[in-house]
Amino acid sequence: MPVTQTPSGPVWTRRTTTEQWASWAGWLAVAVLFVISWQVMNTNTIWSFVDDAPRQAGDLLSRSWPPRWSYVGNLWLPLWDTLNMATLGTLIGTILAVPTAFFAARNTTPSVAILRPVALFVIVASRSINSLIWALLLVAILGPGILAGIIAIALRSIGFIGKLLYEAIEEIDESQVEAIRATGAGGWQVLDYGIVPQVLPAFAGITVFRWDINIRESTILGLVGAGGIGLQLQSSLNVLAWSQVTVIFALILVTVIVSEWVSGKVRTAII
């Protein structure tokens, strides 16, 4: 922090002059970018709709209250489908993610030149596409239904579980692996006794965490036709039955909170 000497004594400032200018330039760049983006984004915005929003919100609220609680009877089966979609999807995703992670980890991959980049690409591709987009594609291919949802969840989970698991594998304590190898263990035995026990707690934690996220995501996959409670949401939205939408939102909220609680409990029990 610079101090300048002036005739009336030393003056303290927080930044040097160069830092001050750099900081101003940074803020200016952000401001300019924001203004340009704002203008481009709003070229087609109809401002009367935006001005109208508070009234629309009031209207929406009056339509969605009171909730039609009797509708909840129609939701148990879709909820069961949603939970299955998340759980089976997590299961399939995990089964596919484990070998991917072992191929991607630098210390366990069988070939650094070919398999590792392929595994890393699989992880990146799976991670960058949201499960809703996966579901959109799979519904077109497999037809609407819970199967498309399961596969969408599975495909999205590969990247998440794969990435976290391969990072855990790369961070293991090599001396344990060394010790197992020193007993004359073969490749699989080293994996089984040296590496797996070290990453197992992390793996269990990651899987449960992903299951929790998947419950959250599977509730809305029905919007594109992949079954579950989202399908009811879509049909209620289509007929503008907002009092049913409220019930669905409430049920989704409860499900998400419960699954978060369960996954939190399980994770603290494991780790």
């Binding site: 983006s37 935006v50 809703l132 594609l137």
Partner: protein, 270 residues
């Protein structure tokens, strides 16, 4: 493993991985098995439809391998511009709103009535996913990127304020104390005692959120909130898989670029 001498008739057995009690292990494992049977049993799969879809899958993979950027290039371009501008605006506005809320939600610098209100705002914003909030905002603001912008700004608040508040609560109190000892007021304490400590992480989180917002902007278009997701949805509805493949490739590339860019800048700052 204790150093037991190898006694005849005794073999070392691997300890169970998770559940120590044998009874509970069996109960839990069989419970899982029963659930799996029930869950798989309740699947209704129309295999004929799946079989019919294989031809489409082939076309789709073809579209992915030989993407068509040209035919609908103007729409792809417009969708991308909408997504990017939406992301930038929402991140800037979201951060601008979430900084005061984050400060207000921190236990060590905000009085409790303010804190309760700020924590409530955070909880509401985090409770639902982007897409659910997008549905509501599209109903309120009409179709188009403005609804997407509001959605992303709103969800940014929950993410950023919470992490900022947690961060402020974990600062080194002695620095704030030292500032206070000079006779600084509340603003000066925040500015000189707290801000320098949380700034690097705040910038890091903002960049991370920029990255997340772009990803989400590709999704919320499906419910009408503009951006590249809307273009993708249209392409899928037209069975125009070549364009859809091109859009997906662009999303993957941009997400990768954003991720590498933001993680590099974050490393450089910290």
């Amino acid at each position: 493993m204790s150093a037991t001498p190898p006694v005849a008739g005794r073999r070392w057995r691997r300890p169970p991985l998770f559940i120590q009690s044998r009874l509970w292990r069996w109960v839990i494992y069989s419970g899982v098995l029963v659930y799996l049977v029930l869950a798989v049993g309740s699947l209704e799969v129309d295999w004929q439809r799946v079989y019919a879809g294989l031809e489409r899958a082939q076309r789709f993979i073809g579209g992915f391998l030989v993407p068509d950027f040209v035919t609908r290039s103007d729409q792809i371009w417009r969708g991308m511009v909408e997504s990017l501008t939406m992301t930038v605006c929402a991140t800037v506005v979201g951060i601008a709103i979430s900084v005061p809320i984050g400060i207000g939600a921190a236990r060590n610098i905000a009085p409790w009535p303010v804190r309760v209100v700020c924590r409530a705002i955070i909880a509401v914003s985090r409770a639902f996913q982007e897409i659910v909030i997008a549905i509501l905002f599209v109903a309120m603001f009409g179709f188009g990127p403005f609804a997407g912008f509001v959605t992303l700004s709103f969800t940014t608040i929950g993410f950023l304020s919470k992490l900022l508040a947690d961060d402020i609560e974990e600062i080194d109190e002695s620095q704030a104390e030292a500032t206070r000892a000079t006779g600084a007021g509340w603003w000066q304490i925040v500015n000189y005692g707290v801000q320098p400590q949380v700034m690097p992480r705040l910038i890091g989180l903002s960049l991370y959120r920029l990255d997340i917002n772009f990803r989400e902007s590709a999704v919320i278009g499906i419910v009408g909130a503009g951006g590249i997701g809307a273009t993708l949805n249209t392409a899928m509805e037209r069975y125009d898989y070549d364009t859809a493949g091109a859009i997906l490739l662009l999303i993957i590339l941009l997400v990768m670029a954003a991720e590498y860019g933001s993680s590099h800048i974050r490393k450089w700052i910290q």
